[in-house]
Point group: C3
Chain length 363, copies 3
């Protein structure tokens, strides 16, 4: 197994800083990196479509002088016809120097990394992780704010299902003096286990459903989409939806240097009218995402010594649980041939075990 990126926490704070330094250098001196990956091939294996993420990886590789092979949707692809992720990873290792994989099932990129002889980047595995989006978020915050310590960061909208929110919160929790403001309707509050993580790390946070009121204290506002179908009833949705739409009126309550982020695509949760407000940073985020992917590709290609699978399987202690089976229907263990069940102990106090692939709690 080669060094890979499956979860944002696979990278230490020092490594993140190093990646961001390289990314900034790329932004400042693009020509310097023109031929850094000459003769190298990236495989973009998108088992479900995600045009934006795919383009970001492809543009990143091209700007490094490399080439790209790939598919953008496995539905029409023979790859999906019964072949295991492990075999696909071994085969693609004959054609490419590095793999970016998007898959609807959680854990698929980890399974690929275990079999591939080249580095694997998780480009999104179901509702589980999307670490390169978090890299884009982090670089944008650093470039706009100069650093992370003592920032007040608001998250607004769907905090229950948004994997980009969970990832960024987890990543920020490692910095000093971070204050988190969770802004959402009751139905879409941050899940207990993420708040528990914040508690364990001593990160200060508060919950509110009032965006307008919270805006004045935020250094960063991370907006997400609130989907109609998440609400208990249409009436509830109609009553609440406008509260979570950022428009010119609400921007008056923000600080003069509040930085507005959004993982995109947006539908209507940020009015087009504020795109030209200098505080709107969501298109800068797109550009920063490309720079971070360039830095990441460079880093992973340069680390050519084999790494221990256990570093990825057991960031927590790995344990065998007799007879236990992951019950998550969207976990790669449901479909991958000859892949055993594997668990890790994530919380000793409450004795909570999770599947190593999808991180669903085992009962």
């Amino acid at each position: 197994m080669r060094r890979s990126l499956i979860d944002i926490l696979d990278l230490s704070i020092d490594e993140l800083n190093e990646l961001m330094d390289v990314a900034v250098d790329i932004a400042d001196n693009p020509n310097k990196y023109n031929d850094s990956c000459k003769g190298k091939i990236l495989a973009t294996l998108f088992f479900e479509p995600s045009t934006r993420t795919r383009f970001s990886f492809e543009a990143a590789m091209y700007e490094l002088g490399g080439q790209v092979i790939g598919f953008s949707d496995a539905k029409n692809s023979s790859v999906s016809k019964g072949e295991s992720i492990a075999d696909t990873a071994k085969t693609i290792s004959c054609y490419a120097d590095i793999i970016a994989m998007r898959h609807p099932l959680a854990g698929a990129p980890l399974v690929a990394a275990q079999s591939a002889s080249v580095p694997v980047i998780n480009a999104g595995d179901g509702g589980h992780c999307h670490p390169t989006q978090t890299l884009a978020d982090l670089l944008t915050i650093r470039r706009e704010k100069g650093g992370f310590d003592n920032l007040v960061v608001g998250f607004c909208g769907d905090l229950k299902y948004g994997r980009t929110v969970h990832s960024l919160i987890t990543a920020l929790a490692r910095y000093k003096g971070i204050k988190i403001v969770l802004i959402s309707p009751e139905e879409l509050k941050l899940p207990f286990y993420v708040k528990r993580e914040l508690d364990l790390k001593g990160v200060s946070y508060r919950e509110t459903n009032d965006l307008e009121n919270a805006l004045g204290e935020l250094d960063i506002l991370y907006m997400t989409r609130v989907q109609k179908e998440r609400f208990a009833s249409i009436e509830e949705y109609e009553r609440l939806k406008d509260c979570y739409i950022l428009n010119e009126q609400k921007m008056k309550f923000a600080k003069p240097d509040t930085c507005i982020l959004h993982p995109l695509p947006r539908v209507n949760e940020i009015s087009v009218a504020i795109d030209n407000d200098p505080r709107a940073c969501y298109f800068k985020q797109v550009l920063n995402g490309k720079y971070m992917r360039m830095a990441l590709i460079l880093k992973l290609l340069s680390e050519d010594k084999p790494v221990d699978q256990l570093d990825y399987l057991s960031r927590c202690e790995k344990v065998e649980i007799k007879g236990a089976v992951c019950s998550n229907p969207k976990c790669i263990t449901q479909t991958e041939q000859e892949l055993g069940q594997s668990f890790k102990l994530v919380d000793k106090e409450y004795n909570i075990h999770r599947c190593v692939y999808c991180e669903k709690k085992v009962r």
Copy 2:
């Protein structure tokens, strides 16, 4: 907004001549241009499939030493899921240096050009425009005939719905002494507004339904496909279809140097038997299309100063019409968020206004 190509008339006669000069130089000295676009990326955003046009753009960019990202059909693409054309254009501007867009809705490339920070080329927007096909047609005529003045140009087949026909007629109407012969069944005659344009510009034309008879006077014959479903009845179709099929028998009536064009793909409207006739130029047209796209990419990348949006919106006078809404179901104003209605006065005498995006008449 960067200099873009939305409609063939965006280019002046001088600019067209310059493009054709470059295209001929490319054809004569391909190696000279090998690295002209090194480090540049073209995005081919094909919201509906058009393999031929996409390949032409991609081959053009590769032969200039550049790279390509893109999708070939938006159906499976996340880009189509609710994101506005404007947001897509802003995002892609982070990944690419130039965009070629094909879209089923008229006006989409214009909307993209207004938001992108890179040049946008219209690679076909519904039944509206397809200017790079016209570039291919024009170069082929110039290379075969040495110029445009005083040519007799026949158009045969479906003159009612064929956007390539309308575009080429409009483009040719700017040259001196052009004579146009319109050969079609009654059902598929050239629309009134195109003939009106010819009248206003003083271009001579005549209409006929007899291809065989017209052939003897033509310098150029532009063939198009006659689709069965366009006719009033099957009987009518059966009676007429053979009249508009070009075969060895009919070619005997053509001049020894009549140049046969077709935008391709053909079905059966030109017999395979005449492919080797030196007058058959439709595969030369394919090659010329690639050279013109190369010249166009070079031109647009070299013009890096912002241009005025109004140059594109108001080749005619732009006017506000209170309460008026474009009624064209295939216009981008039907789906694009926060895009206002906008009209232009195209004919002062008859007081005709058209939507600036799809050019449909407003009532």
Copy 3:
């Protein structure tokens, strides 16, 4: 017509040796070939999806410094809308220097080669031929065994429908002292006409349904998948399926240097448990396939003199048969416009004629 590869027998033994020499040199000195195809474009025209084969061609071209255009599934492609293969080939010849074509109908690549002005490689035409898979198989055997003469080669599984099996048997039949062992259930035995070919060439072969028993004498074991739907009944399938699954238990009967091949993808016919056995060569085959495609692209691009179509149409004597029509519903003659029927005499003794495109027997 340019020199193309439609059937493995288009290559002489000397040419095959030369290709394998180049492939080995590529494997040993990859950097030497980095820019061999700089400025050249490969078109991968996949009228049906085959991700693995497409990736192999694309990686091959990129590693030679060239570029790639293409589509991976014609369903969504305008190419499939009524345009003939001949027209597609002529058009693509304007965009690319070499074509790799996959098509569900037998004979399509031959039709393309007859019209294209660039070389065409058959990347699989229905159940007919797949010569570049055979190139991968041959190089793997040569690299593992040093040569072909006097090898004992077993074929196991579906020998009736497996085109890779027929191709490799035909290719091996040209070497000296080859012994072939055909291991299959009764339902899936090698077709009579392939055995007849072996007889005509004096190749020794025997048939058995016992893999375990045969293993001890094999230098090479070529595994293929046995599909449930091929059997007369579910009971029959259940009774037999395990006999044709290669696992650690059966590997004990193999020689210490038996080389295990499989065209991939596998489903369960080879246990993942033997992937790390040094005799398992199926992932080496993947890599060798890329090297052979690189060597083939180099060879065909270097042969720029026109070749005689008849070399491809009539490896056997070509004959006209009045009124005869190919009855194969999966033959390109069924759909291609203005393509005549053409036959060849393949067996004088039995007076057997076959369609030149799909090689189906004519009655």
